[in-house]
Amino acid sequence: MIASGLRFGGVAALLALGIVFPLVFTNPAVTSDAIYTLIFVAAASAWNTFSGYSGYISLGHAVFFGSGAYLTGIATLDWGLTGSQVFLLLPLAGLVGAIIAVPFGLIALRVRRHTFVVITIAIFFIFQLMAYNLQSLTGGTSGLLAPTVNFAAATYNNPFYYAALVIAVAAVAVSWLIRRSRFGLQLRAIRDDEDRARGLGVRTMRVKLGAFVISAVPVAMVGGLSWYFTGLIDPSSGFDPLFDVAVALMAFLGGLGTVAGPVLGALIIEPAQQYFQGQVSAGYLFLMLYGALFLVVILVLPRGVIPTAAEQIGKWRDKRREGDGGLAGHRLAAAGAAPDRAKELA
Protein backbone atom coordinates (compact mmCIF):
# COMPACT_ATOMS: atom_id res chain seq x y z
CA MET A 1 0.00 0.00 0.00
CA ILE A 2 2.74 2.40 0.96
CA ALA A 3 4.60 1.64 -2.22
CA SER A 4 1.57 2.31 -4.42
CA GLY A 5 0.81 5.50 -2.49
CA LEU A 6 4.38 6.65 -3.02
CA ARG A 7 4.16 5.82 -6.67
CA PHE A 8 0.92 7.78 -7.09
CA GLY A 9 2.40 10.74 -5.27
CA GLY A 10 5.51 10.60 -7.42
CA VAL A 11 3.53 10.54 -10.65
CA ALA A 12 1.32 13.41 -9.47
CA ALA A 13 4.36 15.46 -8.44
CA LEU A 14 6.07 14.81 -11.78
CA LEU A 15 2.92 15.82 -13.65
CA ALA A 16 2.57 19.01 -11.59
CA LEU A 17 6.21 19.80 -12.25
CA GLY A 18 5.60 19.28 -15.96
CA ILE A 19 2.64 21.67 -15.92
CA VAL A 20 4.32 24.53 -14.04
CA PHE A 21 7.74 24.08 -15.66
CA PRO A 22 7.42 26.75 -18.42
CA LEU A 23 5.91 29.19 -15.91
CA VAL A 24 8.96 28.88 -13.67
CA PHE A 25 11.66 28.57 -16.33
CA THR A 26 10.77 31.23 -18.87
CA ASN A 27 14.11 31.20 -20.68
CA PRO A 28 13.24 30.11 -24.25
CA ALA A 29 16.47 28.11 -24.54
CA VAL A 30 15.41 26.02 -21.53
CA THR A 31 11.80 25.51 -22.63
CA SER A 32 13.01 24.62 -26.11
CA ASP A 33 15.16 21.83 -24.64
CA ALA A 34 12.16 20.79 -22.55
CA ILE A 35 9.98 20.52 -25.66
CA TYR A 36 12.45 18.21 -27.40
CA THR A 37 12.74 16.19 -24.20
CA LEU A 38 8.96 15.72 -24.04
CA ILE A 39 8.92 14.78 -27.72
CA PHE A 40 11.37 12.00 -26.91
CA VAL A 41 9.50 10.97 -23.75
CA ALA A 42 6.50 10.38 -25.99
CA ALA A 43 8.48 8.67 -28.75
CA ALA A 44 10.52 6.40 -26.44
CA SER A 45 7.42 5.39 -24.45
CA ALA A 46 5.52 4.63 -27.62
CA TRP A 47 8.45 2.66 -29.05
CA ASN A 48 8.69 0.68 -25.82
CA THR A 49 4.96 -0.08 -25.91
CA PHE A 50 5.66 -2.17 -28.96
CA SER A 51 9.35 -3.13 -28.91
CA GLY A 52 9.86 -3.31 -25.17
CA TYR A 53 6.77 -5.40 -24.45
CA SER A 54 6.85 -7.66 -27.50
CA GLY A 55 10.64 -8.06 -27.84
CA TYR A 56 10.48 -7.11 -31.52
CA ILE A 57 13.16 -4.42 -31.79
CA SER A 58 11.98 -1.90 -34.38
CA LEU A 59 14.59 0.33 -35.97
CA GLY A 60 11.99 1.84 -38.27
CA HIS A 61 9.91 4.09 -36.05
CA ALA A 62 11.42 7.14 -37.72
CA VAL A 63 9.06 6.23 -40.56
CA PHE A 64 6.17 7.37 -38.36
CA PHE A 65 8.04 10.41 -37.11
CA GLY A 66 8.85 11.55 -40.64
CA SER A 67 5.42 10.70 -42.03
CA GLY A 68 3.74 12.68 -39.25
CA ALA A 69 6.05 15.60 -39.91
CA TYR A 70 5.48 15.55 -43.66
CA LEU A 71 1.73 15.14 -43.33
CA THR A 72 1.51 18.11 -40.95
CA GLY A 73 3.78 20.14 -43.20
CA ILE A 74 1.96 19.36 -46.44
CA ALA A 75 -1.51 19.89 -44.92
CA THR A 76 -0.50 23.14 -43.24
CA LEU A 77 0.95 24.59 -46.42
CA ASP A 78 -1.81 23.32 -48.70
CA TRP A 79 -4.67 24.49 -46.51
CA GLY A 80 -2.91 27.70 -45.51
CA LEU A 81 -3.25 27.05 -41.77
CA THR A 82 -1.60 29.44 -39.34
CA GLY A 83 -0.97 29.87 -35.62
CA SER A 84 -2.53 27.34 -33.28
CA GLN A 85 -4.75 25.88 -36.03
CA VAL A 86 -1.79 23.68 -36.92
CA PHE A 87 -2.02 21.84 -33.59
CA LEU A 88 -5.41 20.52 -34.70
CA LEU A 89 -3.60 18.57 -37.42
CA LEU A 90 -1.66 16.49 -34.91
CA PRO A 91 -4.42 13.89 -34.35
CA LEU A 92 -4.61 13.56 -38.13
CA ALA A 93 -0.84 12.97 -38.17
CA GLY A 94 -1.36 10.25 -35.56
CA LEU A 95 -4.06 8.67 -37.69
CA VAL A 96 -1.80 8.65 -40.74
CA GLY A 97 0.94 7.06 -38.63
CA ALA A 98 -1.52 4.32 -37.66
CA ILE A 99 -2.59 3.81 -41.28
CA ILE A 100 1.01 3.48 -42.43
CA ALA A 101 1.73 1.08 -39.58
CA VAL A 102 -0.80 -1.45 -40.86
CA PRO A 103 0.89 -2.49 -44.14
CA PHE A 104 4.34 -1.89 -42.58
CA GLY A 105 3.43 -4.26 -39.75
CA LEU A 106 1.75 -6.81 -41.99
CA ILE A 107 4.99 -7.10 -44.00
CA ALA A 108 7.55 -6.83 -41.20
CA LEU A 109 5.80 -8.87 -38.51
CA ARG A 110 5.80 -12.00 -40.65
CA VAL A 111 9.44 -12.47 -39.73
CA ARG A 112 11.17 -12.56 -36.37
CA ARG A 113 14.27 -11.43 -34.57
CA HIS A 114 17.11 -10.21 -36.81
CA THR A 115 15.11 -10.40 -39.98
CA PHE A 116 12.41 -8.23 -38.44
CA VAL A 117 14.98 -5.59 -37.46
CA VAL A 118 16.45 -5.59 -40.94
CA ILE A 119 13.03 -5.30 -42.59
CA THR A 120 12.22 -2.28 -40.44
CA ILE A 121 15.50 -0.69 -41.54
CA ALA A 122 14.73 -1.48 -45.20
CA ILE A 123 11.24 0.03 -44.99
CA PHE A 124 12.74 3.03 -43.27
CA PHE A 125 15.06 3.59 -46.25
CA ILE A 126 12.16 3.22 -48.71
CA PHE A 127 10.43 6.10 -46.93
CA GLN A 128 13.57 8.20 -46.85
CA LEU A 129 14.02 7.63 -50.57
CA MET A 130 10.41 8.63 -51.20
CA ALA A 131 10.95 11.84 -49.24
CA TYR A 132 13.93 12.63 -51.48
CA ASN A 133 12.27 11.68 -54.76
CA LEU A 134 8.61 12.75 -54.51
CA GLN A 135 9.67 16.35 -54.90
CA SER A 136 6.27 17.83 -55.75
CA LEU A 137 4.96 16.53 -52.43
CA THR A 138 7.93 16.76 -50.09
CA GLY A 139 10.04 19.51 -51.59
CA GLY A 140 12.93 17.06 -52.15
CA THR A 141 16.23 17.89 -50.44
CA SER A 142 15.20 21.42 -49.56
CA GLY A 143 12.27 20.11 -47.53
CA LEU A 144 9.22 21.93 -46.22
CA LEU A 145 9.51 25.24 -44.40
CA ALA A 146 6.93 25.97 -41.70
CA PRO A 147 5.15 29.33 -41.87
CA THR A 148 6.23 31.95 -39.36
CA VAL A 149 4.18 31.78 -36.20
CA ASN A 150 2.91 34.99 -34.63
CA PHE A 151 2.80 33.87 -30.98
CA ALA A 152 3.82 36.49 -28.39
CA ALA A 153 7.60 36.39 -28.03
CA ALA A 154 7.66 36.03 -24.24
CA THR A 155 5.48 32.90 -24.21
CA TYR A 156 6.26 31.73 -27.75
CA ASN A 157 7.30 28.23 -26.69
CA ASN A 158 4.38 27.55 -24.34
CA PRO A 159 1.80 26.25 -26.85
CA PHE A 160 4.41 23.85 -28.25
CA TYR A 161 5.39 22.81 -24.75
CA TYR A 162 1.88 21.98 -23.64
CA ALA A 163 1.08 20.16 -26.87
CA ALA A 164 4.21 18.03 -26.34
CA LEU A 165 3.28 17.48 -22.70
CA VAL A 166 -0.21 16.26 -23.60
CA ILE A 167 1.14 13.80 -26.19
CA ALA A 168 3.86 12.59 -23.80
CA VAL A 169 1.43 12.05 -20.91
CA ALA A 170 -1.00 10.25 -23.21
CA ALA A 171 1.78 8.01 -24.56
CA VAL A 172 2.93 7.07 -21.06
CA ALA A 173 -0.66 6.50 -19.91
CA VAL A 174 -1.31 4.18 -22.86
CA SER A 175 1.91 2.33 -22.11
CA TRP A 176 0.84 1.92 -18.46
CA LEU A 177 -2.67 0.76 -19.37
CA ILE A 178 -1.34 -1.76 -21.87
CA ARG A 179 1.18 -3.13 -19.43
CA ARG A 180 -1.56 -3.82 -16.89
CA SER A 181 -3.97 -5.29 -19.41
CA ARG A 182 -4.56 -8.73 -20.82
CA PHE A 183 -3.29 -7.35 -24.12
CA GLY A 184 0.00 -6.41 -22.46
CA LEU A 185 0.24 -9.87 -20.96
CA GLN A 186 -0.21 -11.39 -24.40
CA LEU A 187 2.52 -9.13 -25.77
CA ARG A 188 4.96 -10.25 -23.12
CA ALA A 189 3.98 -13.85 -23.68
CA ILE A 190 5.00 -13.33 -27.31
CA ARG A 191 8.29 -11.84 -26.16
CA ASP A 192 9.06 -14.84 -23.97
CA ASP A 193 8.01 -17.58 -26.35
CA GLU A 194 5.95 -16.74 -29.36
CA ASP A 195 5.22 -20.31 -30.44
CA ARG A 196 4.04 -21.28 -27.00
CA ALA A 197 1.92 -18.14 -26.75
CA ARG A 198 0.26 -19.06 -30.00
CA GLY A 199 -0.24 -22.59 -28.78
CA LEU A 200 -2.04 -21.20 -25.76
CA GLY A 201 -4.46 -19.27 -27.92
CA VAL A 202 -2.86 -15.84 -28.26
CA ARG A 203 -3.64 -14.48 -31.72
CA THR A 204 -0.06 -13.41 -32.14
CA MET A 205 -0.27 -11.55 -35.45
CA ARG A 206 -3.27 -9.53 -34.32
CA VAL A 207 -1.68 -8.68 -30.98
CA LYS A 208 1.68 -7.69 -32.49
CA LEU A 209 0.06 -5.62 -35.21
CA GLY A 210 -2.22 -3.92 -32.68
CA ALA A 211 0.74 -2.90 -30.53
CA PHE A 212 2.70 -1.78 -33.58
CA VAL A 213 -0.15 0.47 -34.75
CA ILE A 214 -0.72 1.89 -31.26
CA SER A 215 2.96 2.68 -30.88
CA ALA A 216 3.02 4.50 -34.23
CA VAL A 217 0.43 7.10 -33.22
CA PRO A 218 2.31 9.21 -30.65
CA VAL A 219 5.50 9.02 -32.74
CA ALA A 220 3.69 10.45 -35.77
CA MET A 221 2.10 13.15 -33.62
CA VAL A 222 5.39 14.34 -32.16
CA GLY A 223 6.81 14.24 -35.68
CA GLY A 224 4.20 16.78 -36.75
CA LEU A 225 4.81 18.89 -33.66
CA SER A 226 8.54 18.73 -34.22
CA TRP A 227 8.13 20.04 -37.78
CA TYR A 228 6.08 22.99 -36.59
CA PHE A 229 8.41 23.83 -33.73
CA THR A 230 11.70 23.34 -35.59
CA GLY A 231 10.31 25.12 -38.65
CA LEU A 232 11.78 22.75 -41.22
CA ILE A 233 11.68 19.15 -42.30
CA ASP A 234 13.90 17.58 -44.92
CA PRO A 235 14.47 13.89 -45.76
CA SER A 236 17.58 13.56 -43.60
CA SER A 237 16.05 15.13 -40.49
CA GLY A 238 12.58 13.62 -40.91
CA PHE A 239 13.79 10.11 -41.64
CA ASP A 240 16.86 10.12 -39.42
CA PRO A 241 18.47 6.76 -38.56
CA LEU A 242 19.76 8.35 -35.37
CA PHE A 243 16.15 8.83 -34.24
CA ASP A 244 15.68 5.06 -34.17
CA VAL A 245 18.87 4.57 -32.20
CA ALA A 246 17.92 7.39 -29.82
CA VAL A 247 14.54 5.96 -28.80
CA ALA A 248 16.03 2.49 -28.42
CA LEU A 249 18.88 3.85 -26.32
CA MET A 250 16.46 5.74 -24.06
CA ALA A 251 14.33 2.65 -23.49
CA PHE A 252 17.39 0.45 -22.89
CA LEU A 253 18.97 2.93 -20.49
CA GLY A 254 15.82 3.31 -18.40
CA GLY A 255 14.72 -0.30 -18.63
CA LEU A 256 13.28 -2.07 -21.66
CA GLY A 257 9.71 -3.20 -21.14
CA THR A 258 9.02 -1.06 -18.06
CA VAL A 259 6.64 1.90 -18.03
CA ALA A 260 8.95 4.38 -16.31
CA GLY A 261 12.17 3.26 -18.05
CA PRO A 262 11.79 5.07 -21.39
CA VAL A 263 10.60 8.20 -19.58
CA LEU A 264 13.67 8.19 -17.36
CA GLY A 265 15.94 7.43 -20.32
CA ALA A 266 14.50 10.31 -22.33
CA LEU A 267 14.77 12.68 -19.35
CA ILE A 268 18.46 11.78 -19.01
CA ILE A 269 19.56 11.58 -22.62
CA GLU A 270 17.67 14.30 -24.47
CA PRO A 271 18.70 17.23 -22.21
CA ALA A 272 22.27 15.88 -22.35
CA GLN A 273 22.05 15.73 -26.13
CA GLN A 274 20.76 19.32 -26.34
CA TYR A 275 23.50 20.48 -23.97
CA PHE A 276 26.33 18.76 -25.86
CA GLN A 277 25.03 19.87 -29.22
CA GLY A 278 25.17 23.43 -27.91
CA GLN A 279 28.74 22.89 -26.69
CA VAL A 280 30.31 21.08 -29.62
CA SER A 281 29.78 23.18 -32.70
CA ALA A 282 30.18 20.54 -35.39
CA GLY A 283 28.34 17.82 -33.48
CA TYR A 284 30.75 15.11 -34.62
CA LEU A 285 32.32 14.68 -31.22
CA PHE A 286 28.80 14.47 -29.94
CA LEU A 287 28.10 11.58 -32.31
CA MET A 288 31.05 9.67 -30.84
CA LEU A 289 29.95 10.40 -27.27
CA TYR A 290 26.48 9.18 -28.14
CA GLY A 291 27.68 5.89 -29.51
CA ALA A 292 30.09 5.43 -26.62
CA LEU A 293 27.32 6.08 -24.08
CA PHE A 294 25.17 3.50 -25.81
CA LEU A 295 27.98 0.92 -25.60
CA VAL A 296 28.52 1.60 -21.91
CA VAL A 297 24.80 1.32 -21.14
CA ILE A 298 24.42 -2.00 -22.92
CA LEU A 299 27.60 -3.52 -21.51
CA VAL A 300 27.37 -2.23 -17.93
CA LEU A 301 23.62 -1.89 -17.39
CA PRO A 302 22.10 -4.27 -19.91
CA ARG A 303 18.75 -4.36 -18.14
CA GLY A 304 18.51 -0.63 -17.59
CA VAL A 305 18.40 1.65 -14.57
CA ILE A 306 14.90 0.91 -13.27
CA PRO A 307 14.99 -2.91 -13.16
CA THR A 308 18.50 -2.86 -11.68
CA ALA A 309 17.55 -0.29 -9.05
CA ALA A 310 14.31 -2.09 -8.19
CA GLU A 311 16.25 -5.31 -7.72
CA GLN A 312 18.71 -3.63 -5.37
CA ILE A 313 15.89 -2.04 -3.35
CA GLY A 314 14.11 -5.36 -3.20
CA LYS A 315 17.21 -7.14 -1.89
CA TRP A 316 17.73 -4.46 0.71
CA ARG A 317 14.13 -4.72 1.92
CA ASP A 318 14.33 -8.47 2.05
CA LYS A 319 17.31 -8.20 4.34
CA ARG A 320 15.53 -5.76 6.64
CA ARG A 321 12.36 -7.81 6.84
CA GLU A 322 13.82 -11.24 7.00
CA GLY A 323 11.72 -11.74 10.16
CA ASP A 324 8.36 -11.22 8.49
CA GLY A 325 9.03 -13.04 5.24
CA GLY A 326 10.18 -10.12 3.10
CA LEU A 327 7.24 -10.49 0.79
CA ALA A 328 6.76 -6.77 0.22
CA GLY A 329 10.32 -6.41 -0.95
CA HIS A 330 9.85 -9.27 -3.37
CA ARG A 331 6.71 -7.69 -4.72
CA LEU A 332 8.36 -4.33 -5.30
CA ALA A 333 11.34 -5.88 -6.97
CA ALA A 334 9.08 -8.00 -9.10
CA ALA A 335 6.88 -5.06 -10.11
CA GLY A 336 9.87 -3.09 -11.33
CA ALA A 337 11.94 -5.87 -12.79
CA ALA A 338 9.46 -6.90 -15.48
CA PRO A 339 8.60 -10.28 -14.02
CA ASP A 340 7.69 -13.02 -16.35
CA ARG A 341 4.02 -12.78 -15.63
CA ALA A 342 3.62 -14.21 -19.06
CA LYS A 343 5.33 -17.35 -17.80
CA GLU A 344 2.72 -17.57 -15.06
CA LEU A 345 0.08 -17.39 -17.73
CA ALA A 346 1.78 -20.24 -19.50
Binding site: H114, V117, I119, I121, A122, L129, G291, P302
Partner: protein, 291 residues
Amino acid sequence: MSQLPQAITDGILGGAVYALMAAGLTLIFGVMDIINIAQGILVVLAAYLSYALSVHLHIDPLLGLLITVPAMFAVGAAIEWAFMRRLRGRERTAMSLLVSYAVAVVIEGALYQVFGANDVAIQAPYVNSGVHVLGFDLPYIYLIGAGLAVVAFAAIYLLLYRTTFGRSVRATMQDKVAARLIGINVNRVAAITFGIGVGVTAAGGMVFGATNAFSPNSGYDLISRLLSIVILGGLGSIGGAAAAALFMVTAEEVVNIWQPVWATAVYYAVLVIVLLVRPVGIFGKPEARSS
Protein backbone atom coordinates in the same frame (compact mmCIF):
# COMPACT_ATOMS: atom_id res chain seq x y z
CA MET B 1 19.28 -1.27 -76.84
CA SER B 2 22.99 -1.77 -76.25
CA GLN B 3 22.40 -0.28 -72.83
CA LEU B 4 20.88 -3.46 -71.46
CA PRO B 5 23.84 -5.84 -71.98
CA GLN B 6 26.17 -3.13 -70.69
CA ALA B 7 24.02 -2.65 -67.57
CA ILE B 8 24.05 -6.40 -66.94
CA THR B 9 27.83 -6.50 -67.32
CA ASP B 10 28.23 -3.56 -64.94
CA GLY B 11 25.85 -5.22 -62.51
CA ILE B 12 27.76 -8.49 -62.45
CA LEU B 13 31.16 -6.84 -62.07
CA GLY B 14 29.91 -4.37 -59.46
CA GLY B 15 27.87 -7.07 -57.77
CA ALA B 16 30.99 -9.15 -57.19
CA VAL B 17 32.32 -6.49 -54.84
CA TYR B 18 29.01 -6.31 -52.97
CA ALA B 19 29.04 -10.09 -52.81
CA LEU B 20 32.38 -9.93 -51.00
CA MET B 21 31.19 -7.36 -48.45
CA ALA B 22 27.94 -9.27 -47.92
CA ALA B 23 29.83 -12.55 -47.53
CA GLY B 24 31.67 -11.04 -44.56
CA LEU B 25 28.39 -10.00 -43.00
CA THR B 26 26.72 -13.35 -43.47
CA LEU B 27 29.79 -15.29 -42.29
CA ILE B 28 29.75 -13.36 -39.02
CA PHE B 29 26.06 -14.08 -38.66
CA GLY B 30 26.44 -17.76 -39.36
CA VAL B 31 29.09 -18.27 -36.72
CA MET B 32 27.93 -15.86 -34.06
CA ASP B 33 24.23 -15.10 -34.58
CA ILE B 34 25.17 -11.44 -34.80
CA ILE B 35 24.23 -8.97 -37.50
CA ASN B 36 27.05 -6.50 -37.75
CA ILE B 37 25.29 -3.22 -38.54
CA ALA B 38 28.73 -1.59 -38.50
CA GLN B 39 29.71 -3.43 -41.70
CA GLY B 40 28.62 -0.45 -43.84
CA ILE B 41 30.66 2.12 -41.97
CA LEU B 42 33.60 -0.31 -41.81
CA VAL B 43 33.61 -0.40 -45.61
CA VAL B 44 33.75 3.40 -45.52
CA LEU B 45 36.51 3.26 -42.92
CA ALA B 46 38.50 0.93 -45.18
CA ALA B 47 37.90 3.28 -48.10
CA TYR B 48 39.25 6.19 -46.05
CA LEU B 49 42.29 4.11 -45.07
CA SER B 50 43.08 3.42 -48.73
CA TYR B 51 42.41 7.07 -49.51
CA ALA B 52 44.69 8.34 -46.73
CA LEU B 53 47.47 5.94 -47.73
CA SER B 54 47.34 7.03 -51.35
CA VAL B 55 47.06 10.78 -50.64
CA HIS B 56 49.54 11.13 -47.77
CA LEU B 57 52.00 8.28 -48.29
CA HIS B 58 51.53 7.88 -52.06
CA ILE B 59 50.88 4.18 -51.71
CA ASP B 60 48.92 2.71 -54.59
CA PRO B 61 45.47 1.63 -53.30
CA LEU B 62 45.94 -1.88 -54.67
CA LEU B 63 49.31 -2.25 -52.98
CA GLY B 64 47.81 -0.59 -49.90
CA LEU B 65 45.61 -3.66 -49.42
CA LEU B 66 48.66 -5.31 -47.87
CA ILE B 67 48.22 -2.79 -45.06
CA THR B 68 44.46 -2.28 -45.01
CA VAL B 69 43.44 -5.97 -45.00
CA PRO B 70 45.36 -6.77 -41.79
CA ALA B 71 44.26 -3.44 -40.30
CA MET B 72 40.57 -4.17 -40.92
CA PHE B 73 41.04 -7.73 -39.66
CA ALA B 74 42.42 -6.30 -36.41
CA VAL B 75 39.52 -3.82 -36.15
CA GLY B 76 37.02 -6.65 -36.56
CA ALA B 77 38.70 -8.93 -34.03
CA ALA B 78 38.90 -5.99 -31.60
CA ILE B 79 35.16 -5.26 -31.94
CA GLU B 80 34.39 -8.90 -31.21
CA TRP B 81 36.72 -8.99 -28.23
CA ALA B 82 35.71 -5.65 -26.74
CA PHE B 83 31.93 -5.77 -27.19
CA MET B 84 30.30 -8.80 -28.78
CA ARG B 85 31.91 -11.35 -26.49
CA ARG B 86 30.51 -9.55 -23.44
CA LEU B 87 26.87 -9.85 -24.41
CA ARG B 88 24.94 -12.41 -22.44
CA GLY B 89 21.42 -13.51 -21.83
CA ARG B 90 18.14 -13.69 -23.60
CA GLU B 91 18.33 -10.35 -25.38
CA ARG B 92 21.81 -11.08 -26.74
CA THR B 93 20.79 -11.05 -30.39
CA ALA B 94 18.86 -7.80 -30.21
CA MET B 95 21.63 -6.26 -28.18
CA SER B 96 24.28 -7.25 -30.69
CA LEU B 97 22.39 -5.25 -33.31
CA LEU B 98 22.28 -2.22 -31.07
CA VAL B 99 25.92 -2.61 -30.02
CA SER B 100 27.10 -2.80 -33.60
CA TYR B 101 24.88 0.18 -34.42
CA ALA B 102 26.53 2.10 -31.60
CA VAL B 103 29.98 1.05 -32.87
CA ALA B 104 28.94 2.36 -36.29
CA VAL B 105 27.91 5.70 -34.80
CA VAL B 106 31.24 6.04 -32.97
CA ILE B 107 33.21 5.25 -36.15
CA GLU B 108 31.05 7.65 -38.16
CA GLY B 109 31.71 10.45 -35.67
CA ALA B 110 35.44 9.71 -35.72
CA LEU B 111 35.54 9.77 -39.53
CA TYR B 112 33.73 13.13 -39.59
CA GLN B 113 36.20 14.41 -37.03
CA VAL B 114 39.26 13.30 -39.01
CA PHE B 115 38.19 13.63 -42.65
CA GLY B 116 35.30 16.13 -42.55
CA ALA B 117 31.94 15.82 -44.25
CA ASN B 118 32.97 16.49 -47.86
CA ASP B 119 32.88 13.78 -50.49
CA VAL B 120 36.22 12.32 -51.53
CA ALA B 121 37.19 9.59 -53.99
CA ILE B 122 40.21 7.33 -54.33
CA GLN B 123 42.36 8.20 -57.34
CA ALA B 124 44.56 5.73 -59.18
CA PRO B 125 45.65 5.28 -62.81
CA TYR B 126 43.25 2.38 -63.30
CA VAL B 127 40.17 4.15 -61.92
CA ASN B 128 39.12 6.17 -64.93
CA SER B 129 40.41 3.95 -67.73
CA GLY B 130 39.25 0.65 -69.09
CA VAL B 131 39.15 -1.70 -72.06
CA HIS B 132 36.58 -2.25 -74.77
CA VAL B 133 35.80 -5.88 -75.43
CA LEU B 134 33.15 -6.86 -77.99
CA GLY B 135 31.53 -3.45 -77.63
CA PHE B 136 31.44 -3.66 -73.85
CA ASP B 137 32.98 -0.92 -71.78
CA LEU B 138 34.96 -2.58 -68.99
CA PRO B 139 36.61 -0.16 -66.54
CA TYR B 140 39.79 -1.63 -65.02
CA ILE B 141 38.64 -0.88 -61.49
CA TYR B 142 35.56 -3.05 -61.92
CA LEU B 143 37.68 -5.86 -63.32
CA ILE B 144 40.05 -5.49 -60.39
CA GLY B 145 37.14 -5.50 -57.96
CA ALA B 146 35.65 -8.63 -59.48
CA GLY B 147 39.09 -10.26 -59.48
CA LEU B 148 39.64 -9.41 -55.82
CA ALA B 149 36.21 -10.81 -54.98
CA VAL B 150 36.96 -14.08 -56.75
CA VAL B 151 40.32 -14.40 -54.98
CA ALA B 152 38.76 -13.60 -51.60
CA PHE B 153 35.93 -16.08 -52.15
CA ALA B 154 38.41 -18.77 -53.10
CA ALA B 155 40.46 -18.00 -49.98
CA ILE B 156 37.39 -18.12 -47.73
CA TYR B 157 36.29 -21.38 -49.34
CA LEU B 158 39.71 -23.00 -48.87
CA LEU B 159 39.87 -21.76 -45.30
CA LEU B 160 36.42 -23.08 -44.42
CA TYR B 161 36.59 -26.44 -46.21
CA ARG B 162 40.26 -27.37 -46.33
CA THR B 163 41.71 -26.42 -42.96
CA THR B 164 41.30 -27.52 -39.36
CA PHE B 165 40.34 -23.99 -38.42
CA GLY B 166 37.62 -24.05 -41.07
CA ARG B 167 36.28 -27.24 -39.58
CA SER B 168 36.12 -25.52 -36.19
CA VAL B 169 34.23 -22.62 -37.78
CA ARG B 170 31.72 -24.93 -39.43
CA ALA B 171 31.29 -26.89 -36.23
CA THR B 172 30.62 -23.67 -34.34
CA MET B 173 28.08 -22.66 -36.98
CA GLN B 174 26.24 -25.93 -36.52
CA ASP B 175 26.20 -26.11 -32.75
CA LYS B 176 28.05 -23.81 -30.42
CA VAL B 177 27.66 -25.89 -27.28
CA ALA B 178 28.72 -29.13 -28.93
CA ALA B 179 31.70 -27.38 -30.52
CA ARG B 180 32.83 -26.17 -27.12
CA LEU B 181 32.36 -29.64 -25.64
CA ILE B 182 34.67 -31.24 -28.16
CA GLY B 183 37.37 -28.74 -27.30
CA ILE B 184 36.99 -26.00 -29.87
CA ASN B 185 37.98 -22.60 -28.56
CA VAL B 186 34.74 -20.90 -29.56
CA ASN B 187 35.91 -17.46 -28.46
CA ARG B 188 38.96 -17.69 -30.70
CA VAL B 189 36.86 -18.89 -33.61
CA ALA B 190 34.47 -15.98 -33.07
CA ALA B 191 37.24 -13.37 -32.93
CA ILE B 192 38.97 -14.69 -36.06
CA THR B 193 35.68 -15.01 -37.93
CA PHE B 194 34.74 -11.47 -37.03
CA GLY B 195 38.21 -10.42 -38.17
CA ILE B 196 37.78 -12.17 -41.53
CA GLY B 197 34.24 -10.86 -41.96
CA VAL B 198 35.45 -7.31 -41.42
CA GLY B 199 38.78 -7.89 -43.22
CA VAL B 200 36.99 -8.37 -46.55
CA THR B 201 35.72 -4.81 -46.24
CA ALA B 202 39.29 -3.67 -46.94
CA ALA B 203 39.06 -4.89 -50.53
CA GLY B 204 35.40 -3.89 -50.79
CA GLY B 205 36.11 -0.44 -49.41
CA MET B 206 39.01 0.16 -51.78
CA VAL B 207 36.88 -0.62 -54.83
CA PHE B 208 33.85 1.20 -53.41
CA GLY B 209 35.96 4.27 -52.68
CA ALA B 210 37.43 4.25 -56.18
CA THR B 211 34.08 3.86 -57.96
CA ASN B 212 32.00 6.20 -55.75
CA ALA B 213 32.52 9.56 -54.13
CA PHE B 214 32.09 8.82 -50.44
CA SER B 215 31.73 10.60 -47.10
CA PRO B 216 31.26 9.32 -43.54
CA ASN B 217 27.54 9.38 -44.27
CA SER B 218 27.88 6.70 -46.98
CA GLY B 219 27.78 3.93 -44.40
CA TYR B 220 23.99 4.03 -44.11
CA ASP B 221 23.43 3.54 -47.80
CA LEU B 222 25.90 0.65 -47.86
CA ILE B 223 24.57 -1.19 -44.84
CA SER B 224 20.99 -0.97 -46.06
CA ARG B 225 22.05 -2.54 -49.36
CA LEU B 226 24.17 -5.19 -47.67
CA LEU B 227 21.40 -6.10 -45.23
CA SER B 228 18.92 -6.47 -48.07
CA ILE B 229 21.40 -8.72 -49.87
CA VAL B 230 22.11 -11.03 -46.93
CA ILE B 231 18.44 -11.33 -46.00
CA LEU B 232 17.52 -12.10 -49.60
CA GLY B 233 20.29 -14.67 -49.79
CA GLY B 234 19.25 -16.24 -46.51
CA LEU B 235 21.16 -15.27 -43.37
CA GLY B 236 24.27 -17.36 -42.86
CA SER B 237 24.49 -18.62 -46.45
CA ILE B 238 27.65 -17.37 -48.18
CA GLY B 239 26.64 -18.69 -51.59
CA GLY B 240 23.20 -17.17 -51.13
CA ALA B 241 24.73 -13.80 -50.30
CA ALA B 242 26.90 -13.95 -53.43
CA ALA B 243 23.98 -14.86 -55.68
CA ALA B 244 21.74 -12.22 -54.10
CA ALA B 245 24.42 -9.55 -54.50
CA LEU B 246 24.88 -10.28 -58.20
CA PHE B 247 21.12 -10.30 -58.70
CA MET B 248 20.39 -7.12 -56.73
CA VAL B 249 23.18 -5.00 -58.22
CA THR B 250 22.32 -6.17 -61.75
CA ALA B 251 18.65 -5.39 -61.13
CA GLU B 252 19.62 -1.94 -59.89
CA GLU B 253 21.76 -1.27 -62.95
CA VAL B 254 19.00 -2.39 -65.29
CA VAL B 255 16.33 -0.28 -63.58
CA ASN B 256 18.82 2.59 -63.61
CA ILE B 257 18.50 2.78 -67.41
CA TRP B 258 14.87 3.88 -67.20
CA GLN B 259 14.44 5.18 -63.66
CA PRO B 260 17.69 6.58 -62.25
CA VAL B 261 16.07 8.15 -59.14
CA TRP B 262 14.26 5.03 -58.06
CA ALA B 263 17.01 2.50 -58.84
CA THR B 264 18.02 2.17 -55.17
CA ALA B 265 14.44 1.28 -54.26
CA VAL B 266 14.89 -1.97 -56.20
CA TYR B 267 16.83 -3.44 -53.26
CA TYR B 268 14.09 -2.81 -50.77
CA ALA B 269 11.23 -3.62 -53.11
CA VAL B 270 12.77 -6.98 -54.03
CA LEU B 271 13.43 -7.69 -50.37
CA VAL B 272 9.86 -6.95 -49.34
CA ILE B 273 8.38 -9.01 -52.17
CA VAL B 274 10.63 -11.99 -51.53
CA LEU B 275 9.88 -11.98 -47.83
CA LEU B 276 6.16 -11.87 -48.49
CA VAL B 277 6.52 -15.08 -50.46
CA ARG B 278 9.33 -16.78 -48.56
CA PRO B 279 10.17 -15.29 -45.15
CA VAL B 280 13.54 -17.06 -44.82
CA GLY B 281 15.04 -15.66 -48.02
CA ILE B 282 15.83 -17.54 -51.19
CA PHE B 283 18.58 -19.79 -49.85
CA GLY B 284 17.75 -19.63 -46.14
CA LYS B 285 16.86 -22.57 -44.00
CA PRO B 286 13.62 -22.35 -42.03
CA GLU B 287 14.21 -20.45 -38.82
CA ALA B 288 14.73 -22.61 -35.78
CA ARG B 289 12.42 -22.09 -32.85
CA SER B 290 13.68 -19.10 -30.94
CA SER B 291 15.66 -20.20 -27.94
